[in-house]
Structure formats: structure tokens, C-alpha cells
């Protein structure tokens, strides 16, 4: 891990905060989904950098190699990416239907139409 220093965590925290800020501050539903994606991606980076080992080879058995990177975080994040894709798809589908039935995807407009939203 020393090859990365703490830079991976700095990037992780920056992306995480940027993503969360986008989710909270933007009023456009599509921008909220983009923010969610940035937020989730920060976690993927964190996991993948956990698995990195200085000088470690790719985790496929080969002759003469003794040090391998940890493949488990990659597997976990593969699953998490699929989950993220599915969430994005559902979110965008909902946005399209909101646009169709309300005529807007701006939270302010929606709130004006119905205060309970």
C-alpha cells in the first residue's frame, strides 16, 4: 500500500464529499443521480486501492510469482458496480416517468405542484 501513500484516501474522501454534495444541493433529479454515482464510485476506488499490494502481480497463478494483489476487493466491487448500474437504471427510469407525469424534473417545480413531495 505504501506506493499509494494516503493519496487514495484523499481521492476517496474528495469524491465522496463531492458526490454527497451534489446529491444534497442540486435540485435537478438527473444531477442527483450523477451525484449518487460519483458517491458510489468513490467507494469502489477505496475498495480497489485496499486490494493493491506494492509489486504484487495480477491475481492469476503464474510461475515464479509469489506476491499477488488481493483479488477479493475486485470481486466485491464488481458486484457493487452491478448494483450501482441497476440503481442508476431504476433512478433514470423513475426520472423519465416523473417527467412524463409531472412535466418537470426540477425539485422546486415539483414542490410547487404538490407541497407534500
Amino acid at each position: 500500500m505504501s506506493g499509494l501513500g494516503i493519496w487514495n484516501y484523499v481521492i476517496f474522501i474528495f469524491l465522496m464529499m463531492a458526490g454527497l454534495y451534489m446529491v444534497i444541493s442540486s435540485t435537478n433529479l438527473v444531477k442527483k443521480i450523477i451525484g449518487l454515482n460519483v458517491f458510489q464510485t468513490s467507494v469502489f476506488f477505496m475498495y480497489i486501492s485496499f486490494g493493491y499490494i506494492d509489486g504484487g502481480a495480477g491475481p492469476v497463478l503464474a510461475e515464479g510469482v509469489t506476491l499477488y494483489s488481493n483479488p477479493l476487493p475486485h470481486v466485491l466491487i464488481l458486484t457493487a458496480i452491478v448494483v450501482g448500474v441497476a440503481t442508476t437504471a431504476v433512478g433514470l427510469a423513475l426520472t423519465i416517468r416523473i417527467k412524463e407525469s409531472f412535466g418537470s424534473i426540477e425539485e422546486d417545480d415539483l414542490h410547487k405542484m404538490d407541497p407534500s413531495i
Binding site: 449518487l36 458510489q40 457493487a80 448494483v83 441497476a86 431504476v90 407525469s101 413531495i117
Partner: protein, 492 residues
């Protein structure tokens, strides 16, 4: 075949969901969904019997022993939750046929039943698995199914409520994922039993503490603890009736179970309540949530929304029990998880029947129901009495244990708060009862709900009374589960 029970509970809905999605019409997918939930229910009951005979059951997926592979580990707490989830699913699915035809239509029915099965799959998987990352995967499966189910509501606000739940739920799930990542980087394992063994040595580590904070916050978003409950009222109000009944009764409860599993098993009582003062966070939030949500629900013009706020209040009771950090408090919390599931499902199903005949669930639709729809209305009244905590109903059993647990600690103000919460429940249920008995029906020609809705509803109402009188089953299991959880670490 009996050795495969832990995986069969989860596998049956997994196999049935794609089959249901490919079918046409409303009848065939309904039959599949109903039969499969009954099958899972039988499996869960057998599992519960096995657990009380043999103790903890361990099932290694793919034959890979833990901690290398994923294991399913069933003790009393899981088994109780599995019985609750699959039991309610097997009552809600028969009920769904008429309700769904009325609210969703035949064309989208196959997708509806497929999503319901995926929801059951996700909830059962979260409960059965003994792997921290696997919990995240099943959490997201159940959440994705929930988002689509919520969006199927007739009201267009169902879409926006589903969207805001999607945003909140994803943040909650990702927080959980971050927390698990922190634990993994410190311990090198994801297996819950293994984590429990390795974490006590690391209790000073800031990473582990941060991980704890992320996990608890993420799960509290999912279980709608005050003040993270804002997604819940709209979501429950605008969802189709059958969905609200199943979700309101099980989804938040499974999140509570995950919290219990994390706090008591993974981190251990010592770490959660001594090293980190979890009580100081959970108990005040629970008290404020209990009082505020109950008060807000008094003012709701829509009865479904009122019950949604009441769900937030009831979750607060459960969190109060967990926050006590004692065996008795945990027993009360687990009891209330089960009992609240049973009563809330009955109440939401009664409301679904009202909406089937009257076309809505506003307070004005409840006028004179005691005359036009007596069976539905009496079911609602009994469910309401249970929610208040009147003796001889399930609600009484769990509130009684909660009060006992508070008295054991000498927390007298908390006892008062619990009683005040019950009085607030009397008021909000009382408004509906008053409308039903004493107001004139707007249209006295309305008839009783059809038998297809009434029979499942009354099965659940009878369960409310039965489990309120014969408390041996639930109390014994909850006590055994609490004892196992308090013993902490690993029960082999």
C-alpha cells in the same frame, strides 16, 4: 433435503421470480408467487424447529468453508425473522390478487409478482446470510425491488416518493458498504463470526470506530430511525396496498435485525455500549422519534399516512429496546419486531380493503364503516387495539416487556414516555374508530370487501389475538435469541 433448508428459503423465490416475470396475465404469476411463499414459509418453520433442536445451523455455500466461502448461519434471531418475513409474504400474496387487479391491472401483474418475489428473496437473504458483504448485496436486491414496487402506485406522487427513497436508500446502502470496507481492511475478513472474533483486539482502532459509525448510520437510514425517516411516510402512503402491507411489516424490521446483528454480534456488547456510548445516541433519538412521530400521526388526514408515521414511532420503540443494551431490552425489541410486523400488516391490509371498496384511505372514507363494512372495520379496530397495546393482543406483550426492561434499569422517565406513546396511539386510532362508529356513511350502499381480501386479513387478525394470549412461542424464542446475541461473539 433438510440440510439444505437455509438456502431453500432464499432459493425458491430466486427461481420463481424470473418464471413469474415471463408469464402472461395475472393469474399464473400469482399462483407461482403464492405457492413459493408458502414453500418458503414451511422451510422457515422447519428451520426454526431445527434451531431449537440442534442450536445454530451453519450452511457453507458451494462447499467452501467459512471464512473463505459465504456461509448461511441460522440462530434463533434469524429463524424468527425468517418466519416473520415468509409468513407475512404467504398471507400478503393471496391477498394481493384482488388488490393488485384493482390497483395495478393485469398487464403489469407479472412484473409486480416478480418484484415481490425479489423483495422476499432480498429480505430472506439479508436475514439468513452470515457474511457482511453478502448482506449488502441482498440489501440492494430488496431495495431495488422496493423502488419498482413503490413506483407502481396509482398516484403520480408514488414516483417522487420512490425516487427520494432511492436516493436515501442508496446513500444508506453505500454507507454500510464503506463501513464494511473499513472492517475488512482492518481484519481481512468479511465473515460475521470471524469478524466477531477479531474485532475485540482492535477496539482502540479509529478505523474500526469509523466503520462502526458508518454502518450504524447507514442501517438507521434504512430502518427509518428519526430523524432519518423522511422517506418513509410518502413511500408507504402512495404504494399499492399489498406492497405497503409487506414492506411496512418486514423491510424496516430486517434492517433492525441487521443493526442488532452488527451491534451485538459483530462488534459485541462491550464495544457498542461501553467503548462507544451507543445508548446515548439511540435512546434520545428513539424517545424524540416516538413522541414526535406519534404526535404528527394524530394530525394526518390520510389514514395510510397516519399509520406510516405510526410505523416510525413503533420503530422507535424497537430502537429504544436495543439502546438499553440489556438482554431484557433486546428481548423486548425482538418481540416488538415480530409483533409490530403482525399488527401493521393487518392494519395496512384492512386499509387496502377499505380502499378497494371506497376508493381511498382518507379519514372521510372511514365514515360509518362499522355499518357498511363491519368485518373490515373490526379487523382494523383489533389491529388498532394491538397497536395501542391493549392486553390480550400482541402489542401488549411487547410493550409489557419493554416497560419491564426499562424498569429493570430504573429508567422511570422512559417508562412514562412509553405510556405517553400509547396514549398518543389511543388518540390517533381513536379518530378512525370514531369516524367508523359514529359518523354517517357517505354512501350506505357500499358492500363488505370480497372474501379474497377478508380471509387473509382475518387470518392475520386472529394471529394478533392468538399470539397475544399464547405468548410462549414468541417470548421463548425472543428470549433465547436475545441470550444468544448477548453472549456475543460466536455461538458455535
Amino acid at each position: 433435503m433438510l440440510t439444505h433448508l437455509p438456502v431453500l428459503v432464499v432459493l425458491a423465490p430466486l427461481l420463481a421470480a424470473p418464471v413469474a416475470a415471463l408469464m402472461r396475465g395475472a393469474f399464473a404469476p400469482w399462483v407461482v408467487a403464492t405457492l413459493v411463499s408458502w414453500f418458503s414459509f414451511v422451510c422457515s418453520l422447519l428451520l426454526l424447529a431445527q434451531v431449537s433442536d440442534q442450536g445454530v445451523i451453519v450452511y457453507s455455500m458451494g462447499g467452501w468453508e467459512a471464512p473463505w466461502g459465504i456461509e448461511y448461519r441460522i440462530d434463533f434471531a434469524n429463524a424468527l425473522l425468517l418466519v416473520l418475513i415468509t409468513g407475512l409474504a404467504s398471507i400478503v400474496m393471496p391477498y394481493a390478487r384482488l388488490s393488485v387487479r384493482h390497483e395495478i391491472g393485469d398487464e403489469r401483474s407479472p412484473m409486480f409478482y416478480a418484484a415481490m418475489l425479489l423483495l422476499v428473496l432480498g429480505l430472506c437473504g439479508m436475514t439468513a446470510t452470515g457474511d457482511a458483504f453478502n448482506i449488502f448485496v441482498f440489501l440492494e436486491i430488496s431495495s431495488l425491488a422496493t423502488y419498482t414496487l413503490l413506483a407502481m402506485g396509482k398516484d403520480r406522487r408514488a414516483l417522487t416518493s420512490s425516487f427520494s427513497y432511492l436516493v436515501m436508500g442508496t446513500i444508506g446502502g453505500t454507507f454500510y458498504l464503506i463501513g464494511v470496507g473499513f472492517l475488512y481492511v482492518m481484519t481481512g475478513t468479511l465473515n460475521i463470526a470471524d469478524l466477531a472474533e477479531r474485532l475485540p483486539a482492535l477496539s482502540d482502532s479509529a478505523t474500526v470506530r469509523t466503520g462502526f459509525a458508518f454502518i450504524v448510520t447507514g442501517i438507521c437510514l434504512k430502518l427509518a430511525l428519526f430523524p432519518l425517516h423522511l422517506w418513509l411516510p410518502n413511500a408507504y402512503t402512495f404504494a399499492p396496498s399489498a406492497v405497503t402491507a409487506l414492506l411496512g411489516a418486514t423491510a424496516t424490521k430486517v434492517a433492525v435485525y441487521i443493526l442488532v446483528r452488527m451491534v451485538f454480534t459483530v462488534f459485541g456488547v462491550e464495544f457498542s455500549f461501553v467503548t462507544i456510548p451507543l445508548s446515548d445516541v439511540l435512546v434520545p433519538l428513539a424517545i424524540v422519534g416516538l413522541l414526535s412521530a406519534s404526535s404528527v400521526s394524530i394530525m394526518q388526514p390520510n389514514v395510510k399516512r397516519m399509520l406510516a408515521y405510526s410505523s416510525v414511532a413503533q420503530i422507535s420503540y424497537i430502537i429504544l429496546g436495543i439502546g438499553m443494551g440489556t438482554a431484557m431490552g433486546l428481548t423486548a425489541a425482538l418481540l416488538h419486531v415480530f409483533n409490530h410486523g403482525v399488527m401493521k400488516a393487518a392494519l395496512f391490509m384492512a386499509l387496502g380493503a377499505v380502499s378497494y371498496r371506497m376508493g381511498g384511505t382518507d379519514l372521510k372514507h372511514m365514515n360509518g364503516l362499522a355499518r357498511t363494512m363491519p368485518l373490515t372495520f373490526w379487523a382494523f379496530v383489533i389491529g388498532g387495539l394491538s397497536l395501542i397495546g391493549v392486553p390480550l393482543t400482541v402489542g401488549f406483550v411487547s410493550k409489557w416487556h419493554l416497560i419491564l426492561a426499562a424498569m429493570e434499569l430504573g429508567w422511570w422517565p422512559v417508562v412514562v414516555v412509553i405510556l405517553v406513546g400509547s396514549i398518543l396511539a389511543v388518540i390517533y386510532i381513536g379518530r378512525v374508530v370514531e369516524a367508523g362508529f359514529f359518523k354517517e356513511p357517505e354512501d350506505s350502499t357500499r358492500r363488505e370487501a370480497p372474501a379474497g381480501l377478508l380471509i387473509p386479513l382475518w387470518i392475520l387478525v386472529i394471529a394478533n389475538i392468538w399470539l397475544g394470549i399464547d405468548t410462549r412461542l414468541t417470548v421463548d424464542i425472543a428470549e433465547a435469541a436475545a441470550a444468544q446475541l448477548m453472549a456475543g461473539g460466536v455461538v458455535r
